[in-house]
């Protein structure tokens, strides 16, 4: 008997993947519903190892899903809900067509909603999983909280987003979890650390909503995402509040102030507004432990970790602890023109007290006239009435201070001053081949002098500095400053060595011979043999070049491409350095001209 011939693509990669069309057919869903369920369930196409085989021999590029994923969807109860929803839509459509508006209205009123709690749990089995995936969720929710009601975005969705984001920010304030902030041209970046997970999100600048053409943005898709994200964020909020011993639908601790003796028309709205102001702490669960500062991190000498790493971790923990109470006891006043919400959020995260003009927004706690205000944040060139007891700083000072983890000196950030560049805290400094702007270098080591010094007396020094820099650029661009400095030191040592005993050269016999000869002839003053200062490096480089040839054939292309990447980055850094240098020179020149002009003017005035 002849055994049955195995069909092609019935096993292996061909059976593992399924095109989208096949998936639609299998699930008996329309594309719209399929899209929705994919978004809700987090199903995504997969890239096959071998596309030809995965597409069962078909050409072109198709969207491929894992067959197992589709089978997984097949058991989802929501699919049935979607089908019922389809029937319901038909009912509504029919009622409209039959002009039974009353019925239609009723249908619309009782429109069924899909409950997706179980999906949140399913997609994120643990809380930490959910936190890990919170970046997109927060970014989208913060965006939607600024949206007006649109055709595809119901009003209550954006309201819910607003509520949840405010709740989340409160949780961050309570947990003091904010670590980094950054003002970009796109919006405000925040980075928090919750349960050991770093979460980064963006909040757009004011008036972020702009009408979008249909082919640019499909709000329906975003709305579906937000449907899921609000659910997820709600549960995350609940859990966060729970772990922080806060009452979940947040409530204010402070009693209503005196001016609220009259009846509140809507207490709910009143409280919600105060909560959104983020200026008051939320009420805790009764009987919760007040003292919940984290215990000191005990460092155990585990064998696998080297002590240096532990030391670093300890330092980092210390720094973070300091950061958490950076603004503690300081009173801030926010002027009208300054974006209120980001600043209040940041200042409160680090323990500061903050207030603003009473007419500006609800929830102000003290007036501008309060003498104990330490910092007044203004974003205008000048002010009529100024108090002597406080500093008038620009908002960038707050952001930069947070990133620097100390209160920066305010002299560069005073009202009306030209601000220093605002640097991103997200650049990974541990990586090599990263361009570090001089401002940041100055921040890291206080000895470093930025090139655009303000004093004219230090011109010469600067020049020498520059020269040194250039040298460094030439020989060791890819290394950090420390390495460069070390290399330099070593070179010098080598030089000294070589000058001290130049006789230790390559073939001693010959030299000796020659010396004897010379001695026999005459005694002349010895000329110190000057070894090439980079001799050693050249040798090393040569040796390295030889070793490079021993890279295995398997890795050769990879090595080449890596090298090419290194070269590219090197070039970029070089370009940035050059641009900076040119810019600085230009600025200096301008300053000189300015000074000369002033001098001339002064002379003229005196004459």
């Amino acid at each position: 008997m002849v055994s049955k011939k195995k069909k092609k693509y019935s096993s292996g990669e061909g059976a593992q993947f399924m095109t989208r069309k096949a998936a639609l057919k299998k699930l008996q869903l329309s594309l719209k519903d399929f899209r929705r369920i994919c978004i809700l369930k987090g199903i995504y196409p997969r890239e096959p190892r071998n596309r030809k085989r995965a597409q069962k021999g078909a050409g072109g590029i198709k969207t491929l899903y894992h067959t197992k994923d589709i089978k997984f969807l097949l058991h989802e109860p929501i699919i049935w809900k979607l089908r019922e929803l389809k029937v319901y839509q038909q009912k509504i459509r029919r009622a409209r067509a039959m002009r039974e508006y009353k019925q239609m209205k009723k249908y619309l009123r009782d429109h069924p909603q899909i409950n997706i709690d179980h999906i949140v749990k399913e997609r994120y089995p643990t809380f930490v999983d959910a936190l890990r995936d919170l970046d997109d969720c927060l970014t989208l929710c913060f965006l939607f909280s600024t949206f007006p009601s649109l055709k595809k975005v119901p009003r209550d969705q954006s309201m819910l987003c607003r509520r949840l984001t405010v709740e989340f920010m409160h949780a961050v304030i309570a947990a003091k979890a904010l670590r980094k902030v950054f003002v970009s041209i796109k919006g405000y970046y925040y980075q928090v650390e919750l349960e050991g997970q770093t979460i980064t999100w963006i909040v757009p600048h004011h008036f972020s909503f702009q009408p979008q053409s249909k082919d640019e943005v499909d709000f329906k898709i975003m709305s579906t995402f937000v449907d899921f994200y609000t659910m997820m964020l709600g549960f995350v909020n609940f859990k966060l509040y729970h772990s922080l011993n806060l009452v979940y639908p947040p409530k204010l601790t402070a009693a209503f102030s005196a001016d609220t003796d009259k009846d509140l028309i809507d207490e709910h709205v009143y409280v919600a507004e105060r909560i959104a102001a983020m200026n008051m702490s939320l009420s805790k669960v009764a009987g919760a432990n007040e003292a919940e500062d984290l215990p000191e991190i005990d460092i155990f000498n585990t064998e696998d970790e080297d002590p240096q790493k532990l030391e670093e971790a300890k330092l980092e923990a210390e720094k973070v602890k300091k950061l958490k109470t950076m603004f503690k006891g300081l009173k801030f006043f926010i002027n009208r023109e300054v974006p209120r919400e980001p600043l209040v959020f940041i200042i409160r995260c680090f323990g500061g007290e903050v207030s603003w003009d009473r007419d500006h927004f609800v929830g102000a706690t003290f007036d501008e006239s309060d003498e104990s205000i330490a910092y007044h944040i203004v974003d205008r060139p000048s002010m009529d009435k100024q108090y002597l007891s406080r500093y008038y700083v620009q908002p960038q000072w707050v952001f930069d201070s947070v990133n620097a983890r100390t209160l920066l000196p305010i002299n560069q950030y005073l009202m009306g001053a030209v601000l220093p560049p605002h640097l991103s805290p997200f650049v990974d400094k541990t990586k090599d081949q990263v361009y570090i702007p001089p401002e940041e270098r100055a921040l890291n080591d206080p000895d470093f002098k930025p090139l655009d010094g303000n004093e004219s007396g230090t011109d010469i020094e600067e020049a020498s500095d520059e020269d040194k820099d250039d040298e460094e650029e030439e020989d060791s661009e890819e290394d950090g400053d420390a390495e460069a400095a070390l290399a330099k030191q070593y070179q010098q040592e080598v030089e000294e060595d070589s000058t001290s005993d130049e006789d230790d050269s390559v073939d001693p016999e010959k030299k000796k011979l020659a010396k004897e000869k010379k001695k026999a002839m005459a005694v002349t003053a010895g000329v110190p043999h000057k070894e090439h200062p980079y001799q050693k490096e050249i040798e090393d480089k040569q040796a390295f070049r030889l070793r490079e040839k021993l890279v295995r054939k398997k890795h050769r292309n990879l090595y080449k491409s890596m090298k090419a990447g290194q070269e590219k980055r090197k070039k970029e850094i070089w370009l940035l350095r050059k641009k900076r240098r040119l810019h600085d020179e230009k600025v200096k020149e301008e300053k000189k001209v300015e000074k000369r002009k002033q001098k001339v003017q002064a002379l003229e005035a005196s004459a």
Binding site: F72, L143, S184, K239, L423, D432, K549
Partner: protein
Amino acid sequence: MPPFRSGLLKRKSSNKESNSSDSEKVPDQSDEGSGDEELIQGALNGEDDATDSEHEEESGAASDQEQDAVLFDDSADSTFGDDEQVDNDSEGSSDLTDSEEESGDENDGSSETDEESVDSGAESGAVQTPSGVSDASDTEKKDTKQKPRKTRQAKPKSETTEASIDRLADTIGKASVKTQPVEKKDEYESGDTSDEEDRRTTVGDVPMWWYNEYPHVGYDLDARQVLRPPQRDHIDDFLKKCEDPDFWRTVRDPNTGQDVVLSKQDLELIRRLREGHVPDPTHDEYQPWVEWFSREVLATPLRAFPEHKRSFLPSRSEQQQIGRIVHALKMGWTKTRKQLAEERRKKREKQFYNLWGSSEADPAQRGLQRHIPAPRRALPGHAESYNPPPEYLLDKQEMKEWDKLSETPWKRKYTFLPTRHSSLRAVPAYERYTRERFLRCLDLYLAPRAIKMRLTITADDLVPKLPSPRDLQPFPTTEVLQFKGHTELVRSVDFDPTGQYIVSGGDDGTVRVWECSSGRCLRTLRAGAGAGAGVARVGWAPSAALALVAAAAGRALLLLAPGAPAVAARLAERTDRLLEAAPPQHDVTVDERTSSCAQWQHVAPEQWAQGVRISIQHFKPITHLAWHARGDYVCVTLAEAASRAVVVHQLSRRRSQLPFSRNKGLVQCALFHPTRPQLFVATQRVVRVYDLVKQELVRKLLTGAQWISNMAVHPGGDNLLVSSYDRKCIWFDLELSSKPYQTLRLHGGAVRSVAFHRRYPLFASAGDDDKIVVSHGMVYNDLLQNPLLVPLKQLRAGGRRSELCVLDLRWHPAQAWLLAACADHTLRLYA
């Protein structure tokens, strides 16, 4: 009750009372009329009615007045008329159009009675309807038609009882004033009595023919007979027709039998009815509508009659119904709309709870297999700052490039244009923000995901970690000496076993002996003079007991004595002695194949004087030669010699051997194993190792090279280095495998020569690029440890001549000195 209905009802009632009371009708009139005007009308009812005769129904008094006027005429007529005529007239009046024709028709009693009964029925029906005529504007025409007849019906009666009616009117007028409140009360109680209102005779409800025989018709209040009006016959009629100018408009009241002359107004009314107009000429069909029953609360009620008790008392059944609903609400069985809406809102509101609980999730929860989490978005760099360092802003040239790439924005350096804002308040909203978020959403659900291993290594990690060359000294680092003397390129060099002397051979056909330390040329031997070819290879006999140099000059292999100044005289002498006497002819006969390949020739004395000790002629040019370690055997490789490419010569017995009988390929070179009786033969691509004792192939080494150029055996004998023309040096660890242990690509051109140092773990390779590479090649005694190969130094070789650079390499036997035979006619010594 809807307003129009109430209006109807009220009209009815007013009609009932039309004779008796004026004041009653005031609201009615105001009802039909418009605004203030009507109200005034109501107040001045009497005068109004006097002028307007057609408002008979509305105002009983007015109609009475008019009737009075008519009565005069009728009374005059009544003298002629008889009872019969009345009926006829009445008949005619019922059908006004043909009253004249029918006047001639005299009816018999029975028919008359029929008519009467019908009429009365019609009247009773009509009684109600006329009320609607004047009241509502949209009453039927049929009703309006009947109205005039009804009015006429009223007239005869008033005529006959003029005095009584006057009185009656007076009494009614008084009574109406008096009884108004009372009447109002039982207006609805009394029921519908409208069928009595037009009865002006006192006969009661009996057929009129009962009175046919009597001169009177009923009795008045004082019980006197009411005389019948005079009846007329046809002649009277005719006469009257001739005489009376008003005859055409005289009709007979069937009830009373009186003649009634229609007034001008009546005629007008009839005309209007015929034409289908509203009978009232003053009626304005299009007068403005006044919303009487509006939500506005008026100071005075519109309706003058009291509400029914029912309207004050709560309905019992409704009360019960409400009670049931209230109970249901109380019990929570039903809910109010507000509650329902609230519930609906609550249901719609998302409820959050502790989803994750306190326990850890079971790992089987997640259904998605091999989940690949979406990669996070890249974090922003300095360029994205609202106030970036100046170097990140694009300068003019970069801007130009930026603009040029507007069609292909993905090729740009940044996805955004770095911009500097002087202060935070100047930062606008980012235009593409929503779009970017949308694209991220698309990525999340639409982009195919795959796990890609990211390299965590740096490029330097790929470079093997090797000890620093500084730790592996000594090795030659610089060029020390150049040996000049050759006039053509130097093909081959070799050290003598002590390392004091160097022998070299080149294309100029000379073999030169040099002193190593001084670089002096001690002796020059013309080897290839006879053959006319250069010296391809030279080799100093490795045995310390012999002072002999082998030189391959063309087809001849010459064994030369390097000469007295070069070598200690005693050694040279001994060697000479050894070679002088030819050994005894050995018993083994040399076969034809070997003898035709290599022939040992007798050395002529003059040749002997030149230094040639032995000469062996081959049938093909020699490409390579190698000494056995003991110095007794020389292995020669011949070019294009097929199976006879390798020839082994034994000096002691002056014998040649052909180890191979079959062609195994193009033999490049052949070497002896330093200790074991083995022979390495390199063909174009493989190296074969033969055991010379057992005469068998030991192993075959696959080099992977395209064309082998040379090879060298490690002094230990277990490692082999093969060089190839395709730029490779291939290290074989014979203990390990027959595949290369390592392939070194250290050269940019073909590698022509490799050499092992005899004492130090060094080897060198050189070829067509101008670099000699000295490497460390450590072989350990421990079998488990693989050899360590470290390239140490690149030495600059001499200048290249026509693609050739270095042709041969040799190490000094004791020192870490390297000797290279260069194409620029020199030998170079590196130390």
